[in-house]
Each structure stands twice: as structure tokens, then as C-alpha cells.
Symmetry: D2
Subunit: 335 residues, 4 copies
Amino acid sequence: MIVVMKPGASQRQIDHIIERVEQLGLRSHVIVGTERTVIAALGEKRDGAKQALETGEGVEKVVPILAPFKMASTEVKQQRTEVKANGLSVGGKRIGVIAGPCSVESREQILEIAEIVREAGATGLRGGAFKPRTSPYSFQGMKEKGLQLLAEARAKTGLSIVTEVMAPEHIKMVAGYADVLQVGARNMQNYPLLEAVGESNLPVLLKRGPSATMEEFLLAAEYILKQGNTQVMLCERGIRTFEDHTRFTLPLATVPFLHQTTHLPVVPSHGTGKASLVATMARAAIAAGADGLMVEVHPDPEKALSDGFQALTPPAFRQMMAECRQIAAAVGRDL
Amino acid sequence: MIVVMKPGASQRQIDHIIERVEQLGLRSHVIVGTERTVIAALGEKRDGAKQALETGEGVEKVVPILAPFKMASTEVKQQRTEVKANGLSVGGKRIGVIAGPCSVESREQILEIAEIVREAGATGLRGGAFKPRTSPYSFQGMKEKGLQLLAEARAKTGLSIVTEVMAPEHIKMVAGYADVLQVGARNMQNYPLLEAVGESNLPVLLKRGPSATMEEFLLAAEYILKQGNTQVMLCERGIRTFEDHTRFTLPLATVPFLHQTTHLPVVPSHGTGKASLVATMARAAIAAGADGLMVEVHPDPEKALSDGFQALTPPAFRQMMAECRQIAAAVGRDL
Amino acid sequence: MIVVMKPGASQRQIDHIIERVEQLGLRSHVIVGTERTVIAALGEKRDGAKQALETGEGVEKVVPILAPFKMASTEVKQQRTEVKANGLSVGGKRIGVIAGPCSVESREQILEIAEIVREAGATGLRGGAFKPRTSPYSFQGMKEKGLQLLAEARAKTGLSIVTEVMAPEHIKMVAGYADVLQVGARNMQNYPLLEAVGESNLPVLLKRGPSATMEEFLLAAEYILKQGNTQVMLCERGIRTFEDHTRFTLPLATVPFLHQTTHLPVVPSHGTGKASLVATMARAAIAAGADGLMVEVHPDPEKALSDGFQALTPPAFRQMMAECRQIAAAVGRDL
Amino acid sequence: MIVVMKPGASQRQIDHIIERVEQLGLRSHVIVGTERTVIAALGEKRDGAKQALETGEGVEKVVPILAPFKMASTEVKQQRTEVKANGLSVGGKRIGVIAGPCSVESREQILEIAEIVREAGATGLRGGAFKPRTSPYSFQGMKEKGLQLLAEARAKTGLSIVTEVMAPEHIKMVAGYADVLQVGARNMQNYPLLEAVGESNLPVLLKRGPSATMEEFLLAAEYILKQGNTQVMLCERGIRTFEDHTRFTLPLATVPFLHQTTHLPVVPSHGTGKASLVATMARAAIAAGADGLMVEVHPDPEKALSDGFQALTPPAFRQMMAECRQIAAAVGRDL
């Protein structure tokens, strides 16, 4: 950590910071520059040290040197993590595609879609049974009945089930039916939930919150890893910006950035929120090195109970898969 | 709702949308313009109608006319809501000030701060016992022990206790000690939690999420109101933008905007995250019409276990209160 | 245009708006809904009508139906525009790659880089002679001497020269040496400059401003088109968001979105501002359908006089080109 | 400057950076930490050094210690700058109010408004004669005729004229009529224009660009100061964020932040872009310490040729002034 003193900081203020650094169990190293004094604080990273120091009198700013996450970091584990959940595998040579409706709506709907996406090459089936909705007046999902239908779809197709869990008290129930627990973007910093999925023994798909930095995203993953669950997929689903022609801005540079920073696999989703852009961005995601993809498919999007505007029709999904396969081959992956 | 068809939409596509509008229980009204056809869908607002229509073939966009929230709206209730929690009152002529440390750290600390803020004119005491922290390695709060200390501080000072609740299963415990349940910014869209605080009979302080629009913020409040709990305060704590000289950008125009849109009281906080800016922004907030204020106070910020960088020292808090009192008088309020 | 009246708007207010609509040369069409009255204003789009109406008493909002740009729109011209500047062609089957240093620094530097990028398959040579720099203390470019060196590089390699013009009074000079005039992101809304490049007879590469919406970007292009210059390339170079792990957030969904909205070709650049991410994002851009690419190449990035941190070394550029060629083939393009 | 090496950086890489630091004329100082090596580069700040170093092999990041602006900084000049332009004075005890229409539209309009704002207490008259407009189809201003009308209004009222200049070649003409040259937000990084207004001997009102950081804003001011023109006012007019209930987000914390960072006076404007919010935010701005205010006034906003939606009517302006006077008194200022 580097403590930068204000120009004109007094010797008393500098001495005080040196004393504080040492009280925090760190070694201090003073550098007197032409205009300012800088104090390096060396040693094992200590959470809280940064803020303790930056409130000191005469301090201009404190610059951390080490990333605050550990278990998620490539510094700690260089071998890439491959997440496996029955037939779905994400993080190896093969790109895992998770497809399905926004919400489970009926037995016919989910079984039909499951068959379609399996035939087209998906290995995971998504479908919400517990749906976090912006409005309390919107359809909130079929709850356990939806989970049962997902399990039935798995039995028929062999697809792995990826479904959202919204509260710690639901985990046991959801885990009874699902192969992967999804933590939604709205819950990326719901720490009791992160700890609870960390204690489960199911793989987790963690969605990035719409205003989360990479550091916050990886610290959220760290909450899960810290409980002993190493099977975490990072889902880039887009961020909130001033852009109004898409629902979220999908910043695909997070894919190569995360590949440099963490060993966890990266799975972009249909973040633009516009069906007409989803397939093109899926191709781009694979070209950027995505380990998996998550997209929505619905046989009749205009009758979907939620988010039909971003769902692909079955023919559009098949075409997307064919195109993505070409791109995957061009970057040395399978799909 | 206004459905705008693409230029060149076919009559068949137009007819299909008219049919869909009617299937959704709405009346359709077609307007043929010089370059496009527009279909108005009239009737009671129906959630899901917008997205059902916007996935239709030949549709360019769907423009909603009505706000999606109801109970929070000034259209439904014009009389301003005044939230009362023992001595703390927010939404009337008197501005309620909620002050205290980020976290409860010890008996001495919380009792000392409680006395200081009460003397300076605060009527609410804040202090975290359950702390949502970005890093799993940070101090997570004293939990129930912290709540007991808050209750002790109340007994000595008469201040109302405002403290965060992070999970539905903690509400009963927290409600046993607190006067106001705080829902943190990270949990603004944690719907099970919103519903649970809605079912409690305590007032709620709901913090705006860092990327929440006004519509999302008011729909989050609607989740609480819908459970029958009408005592909701809206806390503007700043948004995530590209600005890097503050922790969050504090957009004070939300204060007058919310006053036009909702009857719920508005309480800005120390959103800039920099102690050197907090007092000035508190003055600005009151000039903008704030119904309350939330700020952090710590007797020794550099030894605070969390967020010391944004805490005022006792003298700084006293000065802030004196200045705010002047501004309150200038806008016809008391403090 | 749709004028939405406030709930409770009086008949007098409604009548006034109807009168205003007609004064503006539009036809009015009133729709009385269950909670609000809406007035459609039909006819040729009239600039200024929106804001004239939205200041009316009793008006809640005005929703425009038509896009404000015309000549840039696929509604007006459906055939895709192919921009040609000597050997560089952008917008056809072949993807045009524009590569070179941030700044022209010396005769040796620019001739060496020109040779390298030509061999690797680029058809355009970039290089700044007039450099807009955030700090007045930074290197500002070699000015006309730099242009002469670019022209010499063209003579030796046949590459088309793409270089920035910062002021109308420089256009004549720059046009004496360059094949394409670049308008930088900082100048995207410098209207005298846009009009001046519109009056030149050289193709223009227009960079998106860091906070420009698609509508603003296309209206900036419209300024150029309106002067009779139809040879405009749109360069997506990234936007300003809260993300801090890249210099700009590169929102590649603009590529397919612009392909749906305008006939002008789209050329993403090295927007992440990090050399380690540039090649991967170039692949992704091509998968997203980019018509061209703009990247920086420098033989010794750490000695570059500007922006070395985002420049590829010659070997990295060659590898990027090889990878991009694979992706181009996968999407049916040449490179 | 602090150069942070990657974990595992080789001694050869470290030695290379030390050599580079010294080649750049700086002294190096190596600190070996538990996990990383850090190299401090000491000496006079050298532009370009940061980027030269951060492209070095084995370098993780380079952290600058000194702000890149000098003349704008309170480190260089501690005495606050007071800008004076005839009757308008900004930066002293008295708050200067600049009011008037978005555009000069006619002799009657500008003379009427000038009289109104003068009577209410404004000392500056704004009014655009050259108007940068997002759409090329919008009203672009009356040009020199508008300037003549502004000068006539000054002759009648004594108000100082503040008007925008869009291009260096117009400065001579505009300076013939105006008292203050305004540089618009779209031109904040139009460096030839900044240098040209820097060479004029008129005070400058520099508007913040919608995505400019504080550092970029102050460096833009530095371009003007560097030419010898010390009379610069900084106008905070709002930033582009995801918020959609205002035109721009007005981040008033820039007022106290700039007061800590620069000696130049700060003048917030009607940045929310909504007439119903302007007066409230003007009060908040003054409570935040604003040295001046810029607002739009129009006798008949719905007939304004530009931006009527954010203009106050004369009665609303008078009321705003009365309220602001109360707030000014509460913070020890006059208005």
C-alpha cells in the first residue's frame, strides 16, 4: 500500500502515519519526493488498513498495490477452473451453451424448449422458477412446481438444469432439482445468499451486478469460494450505462480481462436485452474467448410471461448455434 | 401504451397487433401517420402487456404512458407521508437527522457517539450490527451484541435506532431492538427481503441501489408498501458513474423529482464517501428540500472498523448541524 | 409525436395543446384513455415541435416517433454505403484494416511501421500529425512535417492515409496529404468542423464521442452528409462508464445496432486502451460484423511519444491479423 | 510516480524499468514488498513518463502521485481567483447570476428578458447567437445579428454579456460585442478553441463536458490559463449517466471538490434540463458554495426556438432569486 501525503504535510503528520502503519502490523518505508512524501506500507495485506490510513491527517490518498481477492485470483491458482454439472461443462475446450426460457411457464413449454435446445447443441437448460421482477405486479414464477418441471425436462433430455435461487431458505429446495444454482445480478452483493450457495455442493453461476466493478464481481465470487465451493462460473450480463438503445451495455472486454485475472470460467449472456442483437453478440462473445453462453429461447416470444423481447425463436437459436460453431472453430474451441 | 410500428409494417402485422392488444384486455386505437402507423392500447395498465407487444413482428417500440408503480405515486395518494419512529420524524416540517457510526464497535464507542449526536440535535442513531461488506475479509459487524448496545444507547439518549437488516431471517431479531429497519443499497432489489420488511410493523429506510433508476427505486418501495407497510423513507445515497473523485455521485435533483412523483419522504446520505465533502452536501441537500439526513459520525475516524473515510468527527458534525440549521430556516424548515 | 397529458389535465390545457400542434403545421388526433389524455401530432417531422409542446402546461411528456436523422438512416437509403479511399475500402465484403502509430514521430518510425502493417494486410495507415491531447503539456504532434512523412509512407507502400484534422482551418492542408479525414471523439460535436469536412471531398472517419448516444452519433454524421459528403465511416471507440479496468468500455452491440439503423459502415477501434485486450476485441469486433478495424501499432511501444500503452508490437499485430482472418472467414468476410 | 511490477516480475524486467526511469530524468527508488516489487520514480513531473513506463514488460500499473494540472491548482496559487467582467463578478462574496434565454431570437425578446433579469438581480445576461445544436435541422442562432442585439441589451441594462463562441475564427467578432466568452460543453476538449480564447483578453466561462472527469476539466482550463488568460470560470452543467428522469445528472459535490482543488470560481447551471427542477437545484448549488449561477429565462418558454423545456418564466425566476438570496445569506454570501 502506498500512502501519499499532501503537499506541505508536516513532519508530525508523517510520523503519525508511520506509527499507524506499524500499529497495523506493516513495515513502513518513507520516500521523500520533490513535492510530496510517500510512505510505502509493506507486508501481508490487511483489510481495513487502507481506510484506516486514508483518514489520517495530512494524507491525500492511499493506493492499494495488491488485489483484495485471493482465492479467485490467478496469482493463487494458475490452473483454469473447469466447472462440471452433469453434461454441462464450462471452462474446458468445449463451450457450454445454457439456453431456455426466461421463466418456466408450463409443462408443455419447458419440455418443448428443452428438446429444441438440446437438439441444437445446448448442454444446459435455463428456466426461472423463482423470478426476481422489478415490479411486484409482474409474474413471479411457478416456484416449486416450476422446479419439478425442470427436473422432468432433465429426465427427458439429459440437459443440466441452471435455475435461480433468490434466498438462502430456498437453496435446499432448489438444490433438490437443479444442477447449477444461479445467483442473479440483483443479488450479486446479497452476502448471506452468496455464503449459503457457497455452502451447498452445487456449482454456481454468478451474474455480474449492473454497476459492479471487476473487483466487486470477483469479491462476490470470493464469498462463495471462501465457503469451500470452487465451482463458480462468472456471468457477464451487461452493465448500466447512459446507452439507451440496448437494455444493458455488454462490455465484452471483461472476457479477456477476467481470463487474465481469474481462473474461473466466463459465461456472457444475452445482455443487450434485444432479440435482434443477441445472436450477433453471442458470436462476438465466443470470438472474445467466452467459456460458455447463456441465452433465452422461447417458441412464441410474444406470449412469454417474462422478457420475451430478448428471447430467440427456435429457428433463430439454431442459426445462432451454427454461426457460433464456426466462430468456435476459428478460435480453436468446440461447441 | 403506444405501439409504434416500423416503417413499411404490413397490414397483416398491424392487424395482428390490434388482435393482440384486444386479447390483452385493452382497447386499440389506430393512428395512421405520414410515415408510420401507431396503435394506442387503452385501458387499465396490464403488466406484461408492454413486453408482449414489443416482441410482435413489425413493431419498432412500445412506449408506456403510465408509471408502473401505484401505491408510491402522488397520483394515488397526494398527502405527503410522514414517517414516525419514536422521537424520529421524517416528512413533516422538522428535518430528521440520523447520525452515528458506520458500525457499532464497542459499548463505549456507541454510547459516546449517541450522546454526541443527540446533543447536536440528531433524533435518530444509526449504527451497523449486520454489515454487508464488499470483501469477505472485512469486519462484518457485531451482530446481536451490536443490536443490544444500540438498544442500550436508545435507553440512555432517547434516540431512535436505525439499523440495517440483511436477511429475512434476521428481521425478528433486529426488530426486537431497532425502531427503523434499513435496507441497504446492495439489497434494494432483494425482493424476499423487501417483502419481509413490508410485513414487519416497523418503518423502513430504503436505500437507492447504485444503478437504480427512479422507476426501479419506487418499484422497490412498492414491494414494501404492497405488504401493508406505509412507513417508508427513501434514501438517496448516490449512484455509480464515471466520476472518480467521489465514491458515489450524489444526484440531489432526485430530491425535488421524488417530491413531485411520490408522497414518501426523501433522506439523502453521505453519498460522496469523502468526509471533506459531507457537510457541504448536507447543506445542499436541505436546500434541495430533503426531509431528513443520514450521516456518519465517529470520535476517531482513523480507528473506525469500517468506512472511517466518510465519517465526521464530533466537532465537524456539530458545525454541520449549525450550518444546516441556517439553511433549514432559509427554506422554512426546522432542524 | 405523442403528447402525453398529466393526469387531471384540464380541458383548457388539452385544447391549448391541440391549438399549438396545429400552429406547428401538424394534424392533431386526440385519444382519451382511462387515466390520461394523449394527443398524437401527425405530419412531417418538424424540428423544435417536440420541445415547443413539452413546455406546454399540463403536458407530462412528449414522445417522438420518428428518428431525428434522415440521410444517415436506412429508411432513406437501404443500400449499404461502401467508403473507398484509394486502396482502402470499408463497407464491402472485404474488411478494411487501418493500422499505425498513435502519432507520427519520425521518418524512420512511420516508414518502418507502414511497411510492417502493409505486409500484415492493412490497407490504411493511421498516424496523428495534429494530436488533441488532454494535457497542454503533452506532445501535440509534428503538424505539417508529420503529414509530409505520411505522404511519403503512402508513396512507398500504397497504403491510404487516415489522419486527424482538428480545426476547419487545417482541412486544406491535411487534405493535401491524406486520403481520409479523421474527426476525433473530442470533436464529434464540433459542428463547424463537421460542416467543413462535409464540404471537403475526402472520405471521413467519424469517431463516437465518449458519452454520445446512437442518436447523437448519427446526427453528427448527418451534419457531414448534409453538406453533400456521403463517404462517412462510423468509428466506435468506446464509451465512458464506471468501469475502471479499461480506458473506455467498448460496447460492440453498436455494430449490429448501427447495421440495422444506418447504411454507413462501422469501424471499431482499440477502445479498451490496453494492449493486452486489443487483439481479442478485434476478433470480437469482426465476429460482430465490423466493416473495418482501427488499431495502433508501434515497433517500441514503451518509447512511443503518445499512447504506447494501447499499441501492439509488430509481432502482436501480425498474430492479430492471422486470428482476425479466421474469424472473418467464419462470418463470410475477407480480410 | 509509483511503478508496480507484476508478481513474479524478473530481475531483468525490474532493472530495465529502473534504467528507463533514469533515462526519463527521474530518480528511482526500489521497494521490495512481500509479494511485489514497487519502483518509485522521483523528480519533476514529466508528461509521458507514466505511459512510457506502463508499457514496460513486467509492469502491472503505474500510479501517478502528482496532479497533471499546475496553473489551475491550489498548490500553485492559493488565493481564490475573482473573475470580473464589467458589472458581473464571480468568485468574491457576491454570487454572480447569469440569466437569459437559450438563444437570442429577436430584439423584443432579448430586450424584454434583459430588463426582467436585471430587475430580479442578475448581473450577467446570457443568450446564444451561435448555437451548437445536436441536429443540423435545428435553429442555429442569429449569428452576428444576435450579437448586436446582445450589445444593445447591455447598453440599456448594464448587464455583462455572456455568449458562446464555437470556433476560433469567430472570436474576434464575438469579442467585439461580448464581455465573457462561453466555451460550450461539446467543445470542452476543442483545444484550438481553448487556446484561442486563452489568447483573447476576455474572461472565459468553460462548461464541463458531459463525460469529463475533474482532471480533464481542469486540464481544459489549463489550456486557457497557459495562454496567459487567468480569468476562467468553471461551469458545472451536469454529466451523462444512466439516469433518465433528468437531461443530465447535476453532481453538486463538484462545487466543494473544485473549491479544494482549484482557485478558479465555480458556476453551476440548469443542468437537470427540466424547468420544474431548476430553481430547487439553484438553491442547492448556492448552499454547496457556488460562486455563480447560470439559468435560462424566457417570457414564453413554449415558443422558445431552443430548449424552452428548461427555461424559467419571469415569475419563476423572480421567485428563484428570492429563495436563493435566503440561502446565500445562510452561507454568508450576497446575491
